[in-house]
């Protein structure tokens, strides 16, 4: 940082210059020195304050970007069942559920139609069974008629036909039992047929009810699938937009940080200014000391040369010393390299 300059112009009991001009000159130089020093201190303090403010601004900008990133992460997912579910994946999960429901509807539909086909086949067999029963009943009617005829003939034959009478009576009894059995079978097939038709009717009713709520023609599922696809695309697009904005915001924050850093670097001017001011303060200090130490030599040529030398020796900043040397008519070799504490470009501040 800048050099510390001793503004103490001498002991309290130093000799005062004899001439009023010299005293005026000394007072002016000391006042100018004091003002310059205060100005330098003030500029330095303000520059440091500005640097601190800009650094704080950079930190705040970076924190804001981090918070924005965190916010985006939070709004793009939800907690569910102990885990994180990405909102973009949500329509896909719903779509999978929809596909599962659709698959079950299809399985049930297929099984329903398959069941009806099987029941139809059973009904056809029952129809066949009923035809057989009808045939049996027709045969039985003939059998019963034959047994009646046999009884009549046995009656005509008298005692000789008594045995045949017994057989024909048994045949008649058997025929009645067959009638009863066929009647029972007809009743059973009627019950089975009615039950099967009720099942088919029930399946048909179920289908009609499902059709009424749109589950059968799958229109609702198709609409839902299309809506989910639109929602999914919209979410993906929004997600991309958010990440795009976030990336843009991050770039902007980085640029702001870079620019603030450049501003802080640019504020190093105050160090240059302080070094130049210090050089002038030292020069003036040398004049003040010379006047203080040699009040009688201010009009002497050799005294002025000594003063010039003291002034130039007090200045360490090369370009300022060169400037003073030119004004004093003293040439000074320009440094070939850049020693520490030398020219303008050698000020290393940070």
């Amino acid at each position: 940082m800048g050099q510390v300059v001793n503004f103490d112009s001498g002991p309290e009991n130093a000799r005062e210059p004899k001439t009023p001009v010299a005293r005026l000159l000394l007072g002016t130089i000391e006042s100018a020195n004091l003002v310059l020093n205060e100005t330098t201190t003030d500029v330095q303090a303000q520059a440091h304050r500005l640097s601190a403010l800009f650094t704080s601004l950079t930190d705040a900008s970076n924190e804001q970007t981090d918070r924005l990133s965190e916010l985006v992460e939070q709004i793009s997912s939800v907690e569910y069942d102990g885990g994180e579910v990405d909102l973009v994946a949500l329509p896909r999960i719903l779509e999978e559920s929809l596909e599962e429901v659709t698959e079950r509807i299809l399985v049930l539909s297929k099984q329903g139609v398959s069941l009806i086909y099987s029941l139809d086949a059973i009904l056809e067999e029952i129809d066949e069974l009923q035809s057989c029963i009808t045939e049996i009943e027709a045969i039985n009617r003939q059998t019963r008629l034959l047994s009646l005829n046999a009884q009549i003939e046995a009656g005509r034959a008298g005692d000789a036909g008594a045995g045949f009478q017994v057989v024909s009576t048994e045949m008649h009894t058997l025929s009645r039992r067959i009638d009863a059995l066929s009647e029972k079978m007809r009743g059973s097939t009627a019950i089975v047929t009615r039950s099967i038709k009720e099942v088919i009717s029930s399946i048909r009713t179920e289908y009609e009810e499902l059709s009424e709520i749109g589950a059968m023609d799958l229109t609702q599922q198709i609409d839902a699938k299309e809506h989910l696809e639109i929602l999914l695309n919209a979410l993906v697009a929004r997600n991309d937009e958010i990440h795009g904005v976030l990336g843009h915001s991050t770039d902007t924050a980085r640029r702001i940080s870079d620019e603030i850093r450049e501003v802080v670097m640019a504020m190093q001017f105050q160090d240059r200014m302080k070094q130049r001011t210090d050089a002038i303060v030292k020069a003036l200090d040398a004049v003040a000391h010379f006047l203080d130490d040699h009040p009688d030599l201010v009009s002497d040529e050799s005294g002025c040369d000594t003063l010039k030398k003291n002034i130039l020796d007090s200045i360490t900043l090369s370009d300022v010393r060169r400037e003073f040397g030119q004004r004093f008519g003293v040439e000074e070799a320009r440094p070939s390299s850049s020693p520490s504490g030398g020219g303008d470009l050698d000020i290393e501040l940070f």
Binding site: E99, T102, E103, I105, L106, L108, S109, K110, Q111, G112, V113, S114, I116, Y117, D120, R204, Y207, L210, S211, A215, M216, D217, L218, Q221, I222, K225
Partner: protein
Amino acid sequence: MEYTADHSGERLHVRISGVLTFDDHERFKSIVKLIASGDETQVTLDLGQTKMIDSAGIGMLLLANDRAMKESKKMSLTGVNGHVAKVIELSKVDQIIPIT
């Protein structure tokens, strides 16, 4: 639902028109019988003129495919479009029955 069947060599080509819903299961049964009883080894169900199909219709297509496979025949669908195409895509029938 209406249908026509063409027998051409090894191929049975059935064109189904109108709507194929639960109410058509009786008539569709005759298509299943055609598939089961014929000598063809290839069966094509042409749905180009089918305007609408419900889940029972899809179930019937799957039943027909099951029957064809049972008889060692290869069944495929053709001409699917519009509502029928959407239902087939949704139900993923195309993963079970080839579509040409």
